[in-house]
């Protein structure tokens, strides 16, 4: 595989075990409730990043609109939580508080089914990948790619944010917030918040394993092939649009889950979390960690989110500079991300041995002819 190299497989499982111990054992012991909650939020970004690594790093689809799928997951979760809260307090016909304020008299029809947790979960898990697959297939099928796709996905994020801001029945610019319960558990209870953290940690590991399966399978190889020579793949009998759409849908799936978890953790989802700026912000971590690797994007995203929080506590107004400089330095000068520092060393060793005997075409043909 392109960058995974021939590293023995136990290394991955060992790393995973260490990660699990850190996530489930060490972090809860060391961190305050507030910090643990923050970490859970960072995990959400890590989940998004993992998907982007597949779509962008492996598939070459620079998606500048992951905020949209993050938002779908988040709003679906938030709608369910708002309805559950409202019905908890005011009975089956109660409206969520913000709708009353907005002067609405009845629940919009499309809200109705979100009263069911099963429906909400189904939307969270299925709608982002379906939307992405649909949008992706339309675009990829017409051979729109590269910068075109990047710009369209960005326009999608912009349009989605503008649209949401203008919809009062989805909280408009305020978004949806003030959640008290989470599937029957009070969100104010520290024990439940810790459980939420564990769920998020588990989701992170699950998504990483899923993405890993996609990367290391034949599909992963095919994806690289499509990235580099889309037309050629067509002549092999594959439909490249299908391959790309699937990878894009997996990325959207991850983003949707992340969005859904983000809502109870942070307590609010608003259009400002899904527009252009947040969508691009998702990419910094991926780029820093190493876009084509499996764990790089996740670690990068968590690291960047952590740096942003820490840095903005110390130098609140300088974060913009730092963010800009990070993009310039990492993408411009270290395109493989931090992971490439390791990979380069490994590759250098392997190419040298590979080159020792330059392609011996002569001998091959002799065998051939004889």
């Amino acid at each position: 595989m392109t960058t995974e190299g021939e590293r023995p497989r136990w290394v991955f499982w060992a790393a995973l075990a260490v990660a699990a111990i850190l996530i489930f054992g060490v972090a809860p012991l060391l961190l305050s409730e507030f910090r643990l909650n923050l970490l859970a939020k960072f995990f959400c970004f890590g989940i998004v990043a993992s998907g982007i690594g597949l779509a962008w790093g492996r598939g070459g689809m620079l998606t500048l609109g992951q905020g949209v799928y993050f938002g779908v997951g988040a709003y679906a979760m938030a709608m369910y939580l708002k309805l559950a809260d409202a019905r908890d307090r005011g009975g089956p016909d109660a409206l969520p508080d913000f709708m009353q304020i907005a002067g609405m008299r009845s629940l919009p029809g499309y809200w109705e089914p979100f009263a069911s947790p099963v429906f909400a979960l189904a939307v969270i898990l299925l709608l982002p990948p379906l939307l992405a697959f649909g949008f992706g297939y339309l675009v990829f099928n017409r051979k729109v790619k590269g910068a075109y796709f990047a710009i369209l996905s960005q326009a999608l994020a912009a349009a989605a944010a503008i649209f949401l801001v203008s919809r009062p029945e989805l909280g408009g610019s305020n978004g949806l917030n003030r959640f008290t319960g989470f599937f029957g558990f009070a969100l104010s209870d520290p024990a439940n918040r810790q459980m939420l953290y564990f769920i998020t940690g588990g989701a992170l590991i699950g998504v990483v394993l899923l993405v890993r399966q996609f990367m290391q399978s034949r599909f992963g190889e095919l994806l690289v092939a499509v990235r580099d020579q889309e037309e050629r793949v067509r002549f092999l009998g594959y439909d490249p649009a299908l391959v790309k759409s699937l990878a894009y849908a997996v990325a959207a799936f991850a983003a949707g889950i992340a969005g859904a978890l983000f809502v109870p953790i942070v307590g609010i989802i608003s259009p400002s979390a899904i527009g252009i700026a947040p969508s691009i912000a998702f990419l910094i971590g991926v780029a820093i960690g190493g876009r084509a690797t499996l764990l790089g994007p996740v670690l990068g995203a968590i690291g960047v989110a952590w740096a942003q929080t820490t840095f903005s506590e110390a130098y609140p107004s300088q974060w913009t500079y730092l963010q800009g400089v990070l993009f310039i330095v990492v993408v411009g000068f270290l395109p493989g991300g931090l992971a490439s520092l390791f990979v380069i060393r490994r590759r250098r060793a392997s190419t040298e041995s590979g080159r020792a005997t330059p392609a011996g075409t002569g001998s091959t043909t002799t065998e051939e002819t004889s």
């Binding site: 250098r348 190419t351 040298e352 080159r355 330059p358 392609a359 075409t361 002569g362």
Partner: protein, 233 residues
């Protein structure tokens, strides 16, 4: 004959890997030097180093007595090195005419140069307004040679110029190369798979294997057997 172009101890490659491991080669002034070798031997790499598209990691290249090792390709073109790369390359979105004019622009007598080259390749006259990207492979190759000639080269560097060209045009190209070279003011560095063609057209030959010159000599009658046995190994 004195040497127009000399390469001595040239090492070059791609990224971390070295492909040329110390090339020594001379193109005689007013003569034709042919480079032969198997696929992947490094012939194209050698030419890219000669025209400046690939930096030398070690060694020197001189042209007409002046060192050009560090010069950019366009500066070498200005000194009189014309290049026809492998693979029928052209400016695909420019028309055939524009492909020629972009090279002729800024040259004295640019218009005359274009006409001269079109006379050599009359097939192009029909295609002047067609985008080069739409031409057939052979048409593009003719265009590429015409373009290189417009730069008024003293040294013409040709990478498999007959690849993909119809036989009668191949014969024509061969004639043109020999003609140009025999006028005395043009030297040629030629990479070509057709051994017969190469040796007929050239004065000296070099056989390149795995990035090194393994055989070289004058392209006379004995050369045919030398080369044949060198390449058969």
């Amino acid at each position: 004959m004195s040497a127009l172009l000399t390469m001595s101890g040239v090492r070059a490659g791609y990224g971390g890997s070295e492909v040329l491991h110390g090339i020594d080669l001379e193109v005689p002034a007013g003569g034709v030097a042919a480079v032969l070798g198997h696929n992947g031997a490094g012939k194209t790499t050698l030419l890219r180093a000669a025209v400046g598209l690939l930096p030398c990691k070690a060694g020197r290249i001189t042209f007409d007595g002046r060192e050009i090792t560090g010069l950019k390709p366009h500066a070498r073109v200005a000194m009189g090195i014309g290049y026809v790369p492998q693979g029928q390359q052209s400016f695909t979105q420019l028309t055939t005419a524009e492909n020629l004019r972009v090279v002729a622009d800024g040259r004295k007598g640019g218009k005359a140069l274009i006409d001269e080259s079109l006379d050599l390749f009359p097939a192009l006259k029909e295609l002047l307004d067609r985008k080069a990207g739409l031409l057939s492979g052979g048409q593009r190759q003719q265009l590429a040679i015409a373009r290189a000639l417009i730069t008024e080269p003293r040294l013409l560097v040709l990478d498999e110029p007959t690849e993909g060209i119809q036989p009668n045009v191949v014969a024509e190209i061969e004639r043109i190369i020999v003609d140009l070279a025999s006028r005395g003011d043009l030297s040629v560095l030629l990479v070509e798979q057709h051994v017969g063609f190469s040796l007929r057209a050239s004065d000296v030959y070099y056989v390149v294997e795995s990035g090194r010159v393994t055989h070289s000599g004058a392209s006379d009658d004995t050369a045919t057997h030398e080369v044949a046995s060198a390449l058969a190994i």
